[in-house]
């Protein structure tokens, strides 16, 4: 029977089906971090259990870490205690930890792929909704809550109902200035913030195949922002090339065997999806969000929509009041106070290269604070090796140390109340970047141009 990519990987991980349509589902790799794991370790201890497969878990500290002076003790006592707790738990339970100061430390969804932990055909979970990032490799990867973190620790399995399958096909050549981030912001703007709830999404089409692995990660990363359980892309030569030679990638004969298997991971021609959507990628323009959920996105040069009643009206009005915008107005010319380049969506080396290439020889606007937070120590080191640190510093950008930073503002990296921030992260929820902060989601290229101009502009006029 013809199968979708998702079904092939799902079926290979069914331990058994139990009454009521639930599946005991096997998890190959489990990533943990300091915020959603401490209660799970405590629960395990309270029940007299231990880790079933510690070698299938990798830990890092990312959500709550400072992005300055990482070589010094963490100042905030609560943050410090959470990071210390992770270190203590990893030592007690025998989990590999890439903690602060380690050469592999970084955002959990950046380090998984760059270390070759993420591979096609695997199942991966993490107590973080952006775990969908790893789907870029043809992996079933999704975020879980802390109770489920405990379940995977204890049994290496989860009890799941099978999601429905959706395919989103994006065909066509991208216009100048349009990036992976614009593709996914466009798709979310079409589906809305709950439009893919209950589905696992496969992204397909020439525009997706033409993306680099980092671009594909950006797309899959934001699947959760339209409610999807996860997103994935069939692995191909681009995927194998990226994985090959990475630290935890299969070697020698195992590599050949792995690739032979990975080449079977695609949706069969006559496979049936529960939902199919198609978009013309060549019509997509550079995008920006104007509201307080990621579905509230428009082309940068378009106007904020006007809503005529309906059940959404109250929430829409509340959102625009929070943002200080009016229905029907254009965002072009709006002054911006902060630019944040970072997060598991856009903090990889290609993102830093895009920003550096644009700002080389230019200066950020005087009133803009421009922060760039690499996704990992390895990204940071690569940027330094390429001299990007100097280019960025010369342009007035502050290059910080790795972490989740102002994406969720758990640490000191907060945007002040009322200030506007163009951010390459994934969420523009009220207060996400600090109480009262106003977030506009965009690509690293839009962010770089905005930092230099100090206001929102039609970026197509600024491309070389």
């Amino acid at each position: 029977m013809a199968k979708t990519l998702f079904d092939k990987i799902w079926d290979a991980h069914v331990v058994r089906e139990v009454a009521g349509g639930l599946t005991v589902f096997y998890i190959d790799r489990h990533l943990i971090h300091e915020v959603t794991s401490p209660q799970a370790f405590d629960e395990l201890t309270a029940r007299g259990l231990t880790l079933r497969r510690p070698e299938q878990i990798v830990a890092t500290a990312d959500h709550n870490v400072p992005t300055r002076h990482q070589n010094q003790p963490i100042q905030d006592p609560l943050s410090r205690s959470q990071v210390d707790k992770l270190t203590e738990n990893c030592a007690t339970f025998g989990v590999e930890l890439y903690g602060l100061g380690h050469q592999y430390q970084g955002i959990v969804h950046v380090i998984g792929p760059e270390l070759g932990i993420t591979q096609p055909g695997l199942t991966m979970v993490c107590g973080d909704s952006h775990t969908s990032t790893h789907g870029a490799f043809g992996t079933i990867a999704f975020g879980i809550g802390t109770s489920q973190v405990t379940q995977v620790m204890a049994s290496q399995c989860l009890l799941l109902d099978k999601p429905k399958r959706m395919r989103i096909t994006l065909d066509g050549d991208l216009r100048p200035g349009v990036t992976a981030k614009d593709l996914i912001l466009y798709v979310i703007s079409q589906l809305g913030t709950g439009g893919a709830t209950g589905y696992f999404v496969e992204y397909a089409g020439s525009a997706i195949r033409g993306l680099s692995m980092e671009g594909r990660m950006t797309v899959c990363n934001m699947s959760i922002e339209m409610g999807a359980r996860g997103g994935l892309i069939a692995p191909d030569a681009t995927t194998f090339e990226y994985v090959k030679g990475r630290r935890f990638a299969p070697q020698g004969e195992n590599w050949d065997r792995a690739v032979a298997y990975w080449q079977t991971l695609y949706s069969d021609e006559d496979a049936v999806f529960d939902a199919e959507l198609q978009f013309d990628a060549s019509a997509i323009q550079p995008m920006i969000t104007y509201g307080t959920n990621p579905g509230m996105g428009i082309p940068l040069s378009a106007s904020i929509p006007v809503l005529n009643g309906g059940s959404e009206a109250t929430s829409f009005d509340k959102s625009l009041r929070y943002m200080g915008f009016q229905p029907g107005e254009s965002l072009l010319g709006k002054e911006i106070n902060y630019v944040f380049i970072g997060s598991c969506t856009n903090s990889r080396i290609e993102d830093l290269r895009t920003v550096a290439a644009y700002v080389r020889g230019k200066q950020k606007a005087a009133h803009v604070e421009a922060i760039i937070v690499p996704g990992s120590k390895q990204v940071e080191q690569q940027a330094i090796a390429e001299g990007l640190d100097k280019v960025l510093a010369d342009a007035g950008f502050e290059l910080r140390e790795p972490g989740c930073s102002a994406c969720l503002a758990m640490n000191d990296d907060k945007i002040p109340a009322g200030a506007y921030c163009v951010s390459t992260s994934n969420r523009n929820f009220e207060g996400r970047q600090g109480p009262g902060a106003r977030t506009l989601l965009a690509s690293p290229l839009v962010a770089a141009i905005t930092a230099v101009e100090g206001r929102l502009v039609d970026i197509t006029q600024y491309l070389n």
């Binding site: 190959d28 775990t131 109770s147 989860l158 009890l159 209950g198 359980r229 059940s311 009220e430 207060g431």
Partner: protein, 199 residues
């Protein structure tokens, strides 16, 4: 996990759609390493001013709704972050049921694992419930998990709601998935043996 069987309670109306988990519990309050105490910061940025004073126009600060254990919220409740702390915060603040016309997947799972019932109704029923509560803030609804029914005073028919039969048993008895998964040890080991080449 505490058992959930029946509840008769007043309602706290929150007619906002797409309430995300960053609103339910902002990230800066996630630094604790235990499950308790998150209720004090439930909806913190909607509930308190920057200097920590209660905002009089937010429903949780309205005396009419104090002690009510059912939250009535707009559609797509709990979207965004996977933080189970959102379900813990609602539970810790005294809520036992959230009614909406749909829930984000991860939140729904987290709620069920916390002993908080995510009760899904149609858009029309949701609208009707908001109207009932607007007319009388003291309207008490009855939720019966065994019969999967919601009873609304003055309505001719009870509302039937869906719930996975396994999760229903778990809630009724206070069980969680860990005991079940541990009991699958033999099947899991057999599975690992046939899949061992991957690692």
């Amino acid at each position: 996990m505490e058992k959930f069987q029946t509840l008769r309670s007043g309602v706290v109306p929150l007619p906002i759609e797409n309430v995300d988990t960053d609103q339910i519990i902002p990230a800066r309050f996630l630094k604790a390493t235990t499950r308790e105490g998150f209720g004090a910061n439930l909806f913190a940025d909607w509930r308190y001013t920057a200097d920590g004073q209660p905002k009089s126009d937010f429903v949780l600060n309205d005396a009419r709704y104090q002690g009510h254990q059912i939250l009535l919220a707009g559609k797509n409740f709990g979207c965004g972050s996977s933080r189970e702390h959102a379900a813990w915060a609602l539970y810790d603040a005294g809520f036992r049921v959230v009614i909406s016309s749909y829930f984000a997947d991860i939140f729904r799972g987290n709620a069920l694992n916390t002993g908080l019932l995510p009760l899904q109704v149609s858009d029309e029923v949701l609208q009707g419930l908001f109207e009932v509560v607007a007319q009388d803030s003291q309207t008490a609804l009855t939720v019966d998990l065994q019969t999967q029914t919601l009873t609304v005073p003055g309505w001719d028919e009870v509302i039937y709601f869906e719930l996975d039969p396994y999760k229903k048993e778990c809630l009724l008895n206070g069980y969680d998935d860990i005991d079940f998964l541990i009991s699958q040890e033999a099947a899991i080991t057999a599975f690992e043996q046939q899949r061992s080449w991957v690692f």
